[in-house]
């Protein structure tokens, strides 16, 4: 029972990582209607920028905010510079450009900052809260930040004109254009926000997993999985999905006999696919209805 509790808490802690990433995934999905495979690398690159700023002597929170701003601008620039010109190319061609971005960012980061791990500071105290040994202060802090982001996103998408316009631009660009929404800029804005959220995710994740160019490889997959399980249209779902993936992964690794410890990733993925079979739009997503 104690082991179960420990693993559950460890699962929640790692789930926080995935939830953070899942939010960024949902953000980009809301604005471009598909995945960005380079999302993890963008977050990693942002984190390196933060690391560089810290190394130059900026105080943590200044570096934090600067990184978010730089990442936001970076996201907008990438959309305007890289994707606007091929707006009309098939989706698969877009995916190839994502793959290209992935390899460029990964290679550039390794070239600039080397592949050896770097420690990244946490803004939260090193001492565990309430003197518990089960879940670290950073884990709790990361979860809190994720929840704050979630609330902000929720407000943006549900209660602001801008958020509504962005959703409209993604869901139905032609109609959105007809009602006077500048679809192109909405998409660019979505990219900027996704990059900014990714930057926050990266800065929260790096203290746990250490900073290195390949740090996001596994996390992006789990984040995607979390987002899909929860439903790509729902930020709340994505966050819950992220936690669910973390918990399932940890429990499977500990309690599934024989193959559990070797296949915890696979087991988690099989469960996700199973969820999708039963509920193809995710646990909290809205089913897409298409007109024929």
């Amino acid at each position: 029972m104690e082991l179960f509790l420990h693993q559950l808490l460890a699962g929640i802690a790692t789930g926080g990582i995935y939830a953070c990433m899942a939010l960024a995934v949902v953000m980009i999905y809301q604005s471009i209607d598909h995945f960005n495979f380079a999302q993890g690398e963008m977050a990693m690159f942002s984190t390196y920028i933060a690391w560089q700023l810290l190394a130059w002597g900026f105080p943590y929170w200044i570096a934090f905010i600067l990184t978010i701003v730089i990442s936001f601008i970076g996201g907008v620039v990438i959309e305007r510079g890289l994707f606007k010109p091929i707006r009309n190319a098939p989706v698969l061609s877009h995916i190839i450009v994502f793959i290209a971005m992935f390899s460029i960012l990964n290679s550039l980061a390794g070239f600039t900052w080397e592949y050896t791990i770097k420690s990244f500071p946490s803004p939260f105290p090193a001492q565990p809260l309430f003197n518990n040994r089960l879940i670290g202060a950073h884990d709790l802090g990361m979860i809190a930040i994720t929840l704050i982001l979630l609330v902000l996103l929720y407000v943006l998408f549900r209660h602001t004109r801008l958020g509504l316009a962005m959703r409209a631009a993604a869901a139905n660009p032609d109609s959105a254009r007809l009602v006077g929404i500048r679809v192109g800029w909405m998409v660019a804005l979505g990219w900027g926000l996704a990059a900014a959220i990714g930057a926050v995710a990266g800065m929260m994740i790096a203290p746990v997993v250490f900073l290195e160019p390949n740090m996001m490889l596994g996390i992006l997959l789990y984040g995607l999985a979390g987002a899909v399980v929860g439903g790509l249209t729902s930020p709340v779902g994505a966050v819950l999905g992220g936690f669910a993936v973390g918990i399932v992964e940890n429990l499977a690794g500990t309690f599934v006999p024989v193959v559990g410890k070797e296949l915890k990733l696979t087991i988690a993925l099989v469960l996700i696919v199973a969820v999708l079979m039963v509920k193809p739009s995710g646990l909290f997503g809205r089913a897409a209805v298409s007109r024929v």
């Binding site: 790692t14 990964n106 390794g110 089960l134 746990v208 290195e212 490889l217 410890k261 990733l265």
Partner: protein
Amino acid sequence: MTKRRTLLTMAAALAGAALISSPSLAQKKYDPGASDTEIKIGNINPYSGPASAYGMIGKTIDAYFKKINAEGGVNGRKITFISYDDGYSPPKTVEQARKLVESDEVLLVFQSLGTPGNTAIQKYMNAKKVPQLFVATGATQFGNPKEYPWTMGWQPNYQSEGRIYAKYILDKHPNGKIGILYQNDDYGKDYVKGLKDGLGAKAASMIISELPYEVADPTVDSQIVALKAKGADVFFNVATPKFAAQAIRKAAEIGWKPLHLLNSVSGSVGSVLRPAGLEASKDLITTNYIKDATDPTWKDDAALKEWAAFMDKYFPDGDKTSSFTVYGYAVAQTLVQVLKQSGNELTRENIMKQAANLKNFELGVLLPGIKINSGPSDFYPIEQMQMQKFNGTSWELFGPVMSGEIGS
């Protein structure tokens, strides 16, 4: 102490040079890749992909050969170093090895990195009779002169190291409950095998949990929590730097204080212990054979100063806190010694003969007392290691220089 050793090394090198220069002056013999002016050496390293941290080794070797060339080359010949990227993918390793041998026509392939890649090309290299020299992996299968006379390792193999820890456990904690964290690949499994072999009959009762992790896993927190919950009081940490650092930090975070045995792959103070936290790393035990440049013990060490001067001049972008740069420097020095010994007979056969003829060769950057020895039936050049304990700022060597030779 250190000064004397450097003198000894120099003397040995001089003696070696004198020995070989006399008989082989007579005739020159060359295989493809060698000439009066040039020696072509091939190399395969993961400059991209998940193992790209190791790319540092290839870059260091490249820089070292630049230094050798700037100082006049080996016996008057310049080294041309051709290094290709395989991204740690075996089919790519095969392609690059064939390119080196058949297209670039190198004299030998040196320090190709990783067990899967080297396994993939081992048969090919031996069929082509091209030396696959000083491979960068500690797997035991690369020191088998009977079956593979053209393949030779360099660093102490992982199984031997596992046996050293087993000896230590049996000696100090005969009733310990051992928990193992290992990377789920050949490297991790070799260590575990060495430990089990060393524990012998007691392995089954002493090892209470073995947990693997995958390179793509974000963290190993779950495994550490599980090992603590199972009640392990000896922790064998067979993880690469990133995961080893995570494990050290997590163990401290949850208040788990076992006897912590760290595999030497992750023994670097600068790139593992410092990120993990020096306080959390206190009392770690590992083995080593090479000096750690970030360890204050060696701050006045002549050989490391020489290395630092080399780094400043020829590889200024290189990471001086990474153990890979010292490693690359040392292994390149070993190859240069082999080339020197080969004199003017630069045939592939003679290269292997000389590589298997290193006698008490000492390198300044190896730990004191550790010598390189090889022979026609001994294709494991370095077999000695020494245990060390971390005191919170640096490693402290203890106990004798040990060898955990397989079969001993």
